[in-house]
Amino acid sequence: MPPFLYLFLGALAIVSALGVVVQRNPIHCLLSLISTLMVIAILFIGEDAVVVGFLQIIVYAGAIMVLFLFVIWLLNLQTESGPTGHIVLKTLGSLAAAALAAELSLFLAAPHLQVKMIQEPAGYGSLESLAGKLFTDYLVAFEVTSVLLLAAVVGAVALARRMPNAAGEGASDPRAAGAIRAAQASSRVQG
């Protein structure tokens, strides 16, 4: 990729990342995040990580972001009105983040940290080389990942389902469940 394209994509990534933080409507935040992920995926492809770049678009911008979208719709989140948070917190947070950015840039871009450029081997970033690495050196981690995903699925289902109560009507409010139980007890006494 030509250098000016990198500059353009970098500016686009920073602007859309800022959009995630400054916008008030959660849907707009999410759209900014998706555009950031897309730009980062293009940067991946420019860095010869073609497979990971496409995975980023399919898995991240596709699947995970749709999950966020569903949750925003499910909770019916609207644009936040009025002041959002404390002004002191905002100021201090922005200053801290700016200091962090400066510090990280200084540290990560230090001249002594520059790596020696090594010519990429043939087939670098291809599906074959990725899979070869994944199923040899990282086989244990790959298999453990399946356990992680299974645990996440079970955990997400367990968290999101309504706890069944004695009456069998999925009331999640403990007070409502208590009222039902009290009504049952009183009817038993009367009977």
Partner: protein
């Protein structure tokens, strides 16, 4: 190829924007999105370094980070839904039950 300094600075800036989002925003979902932003900034650094070192390890780690991010967002969004059902809010300041 573009110098490593450029990619690292971009990664640092996006990471800092994610940190700012977690600090400043009080909407739990937006804080969660900012965490995703930070994860992606780190992924960018991995890919940039990996391609300059001619090593595939960076890409494999990015693959794992994506998997962990998927698991994390599934569980995290489950928690958010569960909290919303009980407290009717996604505002972090109103979730103060365990606050001193």
């Amino acid at each position: 190829m573009i110098p490593l300094t450029y990619m690292m600075s971009l990664s640092a800036i996006i990471f800092a924007i994610g940190v700012a989002g977690v600090i400043i925003r009080r909407n739990v979902l937006v804080m969660f999105m900012s965490i995703e932003l930070m994860l992606n900034a780190v992924n960018l650094a991995f890919i940039a370094l990996g391609s300059r070192l001619g090593s595939m390890d960076g890409q494999v780690i990015v693959f794992f980070v994506m998997t962990v991010a998927a698991a994390e967002s599934a569980v995290g969004l489950g928690i958010i839904i569960s909290v919303f059902r009980n407290r009717e809010t996604v505002h972090a300041d109103e979730l103060n039950l365990m606050r001193w």
